[in-house]
Point group: C2
Chain length 291, copies 2
Amino acid sequence: MHELETRELRYFVAVAEELHFGRAAERLGIAQPPLSRAVRQLERRLGVRLLDRDRRGVALTEAGGVLLREARAALDAVAAAARRTRRAGDPKRPLVLVTKAGASHELLRGLLGALAEEPGAAPVEVLLCEVGEQAGLLRDGRADVALMHRPYDDLAGFDTEDLYVEGQIALLPAGHPLASRERLTLAEVSDVPDLPIARWPRLDGTYPDGPGPEVHTQSQLAQLVALGRTLLVIPASSRAWQWPGHVAVPVVDAPDVTTVLAWPPKSHSPALASLVRAASCLRPPVTGRHD
Amino acid sequence: MHELETRELRYFVAVAEELHFGRAAERLGIAQPPLSRAVRQLERRLGVRLLDRDRRGVALTEAGGVLLREARAALDAVAAAARRTRRAGDPKRPLVLVTKAGASHELLRGLLGALAEEPGAAPVEVLLCEVGEQAGLLRDGRADVALMHRPYDDLAGFDTEDLYVEGQIALLPAGHPLASRERLTLAEVSDVPDLPIARWPRLDGTYPDGPGPEVHTQSQLAQLVALGRTLLVIPASSRAWQWPGHVAVPVVDAPDVTTVLAWPPKSHSPALASLVRAASCLRPPVTGRHD
DNA sequence: ACGTTGTGATACCCGCCGGGTATCAGGACG
DNA sequence: CGTCCTGATACCCGGCGGGTATCACAACGT
């Protein structure tokens, strides 16, 4: 019984994502028949039916769903192996830190500043990404360490260090009736007829119900806010979002947001170690500034 | 540029572990020349030198060490994908719980008992392993959930639930001078000339220095204890080790041991969820019994 | 000094399998 | 009832993974 090969996993993932052999084959740059054969062979090897071929398209079986999740993780691990090995051979490899564009500006400035003080200062390359992408970048080796935010980001499977805890504020157009309030509650901001809260995709990629617009990039969101078309509840420090004509009002019962440093477990890089050390030394003054 | 294939990773891992192309080839069941070629091709693909061929054997480069670690993780992930998918197709799949042989007997009994009370009682298969093997079994999909012990086991990358905190005791032959003591300290037990403490391999596989015997299986250890050749400091609940002719004395300053339930993050199995729920309901009475 | 031994690298051949094209089979439409 | 559109099948071909035989070279023996 042969072992699984990454090629088979890639093929299956393509089919499982497209739910269409033709499109999947096109995406993979091969013809459809070999793809059908490969998936069939994979099913024979595993002794499990992965797809229900329904003459009109394809559907995942329960086992297929499991394999889709597991195969993505495995492919990420393989990609990470390649990337980290290549970078280990590079003598002047910078540490790649990834964070959501627009979040934790001041904290990141402080962190990089503190790291520059360190004697053996490894260079740090900052990579900006969209919401929810950090975990994937960390898992497949494109980044070494991430700034993430609990409870909104998926921290499963990473080692973490808490850096900063803060409340959240609502961002409102200056002329709005609620803009003059001293404080707000979630109930008050979640049901404003003329300013529906934007809906972000959940961890599984689906959108919650509601009247607000669906968004998945920060630039979309920025535009909506600038147009006064949506209400935003964000961590208090994200003042980068403070456009002219908008005001921030604390939302007292919104859950606190913790900014955490996250990295894959078992990382042995000394550069990462010094960054984590710098971060944990940095913490007291930063959290102190919060008061 | 082709992607990495698991075959290449398996080949490299074999060579990196054996540090000898001939033996590695034998282990893989292939001839030596194709193995040399495959590793060479892997180096070309990654653009990194992985091995220093020194006419007399082979040594890992720094990048090679990185790849060895990453490749093992990736291969575990691939193996886990296959195993979990096969088991997802099996309608009457039991949940596999792994624990160190001889540890946490009573807690495990209580846990299984509590789970049997549950209405939708999924069958649980208990798998016993040697010290330090749980993480690997969990990572490569041979087990779904593990009982592990902080701070001794490697919990990196798993979700966990604390179940039980306890102190440790020293196990001594009944006639030994220290056996009549009410309590002991680590300093006292760590330097007993006639009863050196056994040395376990660390997480990286090397052994600490010291006068005691090297052990890596529990049966070895059991024999050494029965012969009165070694002194053992273990969690208080591990009374299964209580042979005739031995007594347990509390070691007051030994670190507390926490028994935790651990499982791979992102597990969606309802059977696992009910086990975790049963465990967390079980916790108060169990920790209460500790007093 | 020279053969011996043991290492990994090279040369070369072969069979299998992954990939291609052409075609089939069978529901969903009009 | 033809026309799509789906995935499955049939078949061929080239490349690559695997084999055997051999080389190059260093560390040892005598």
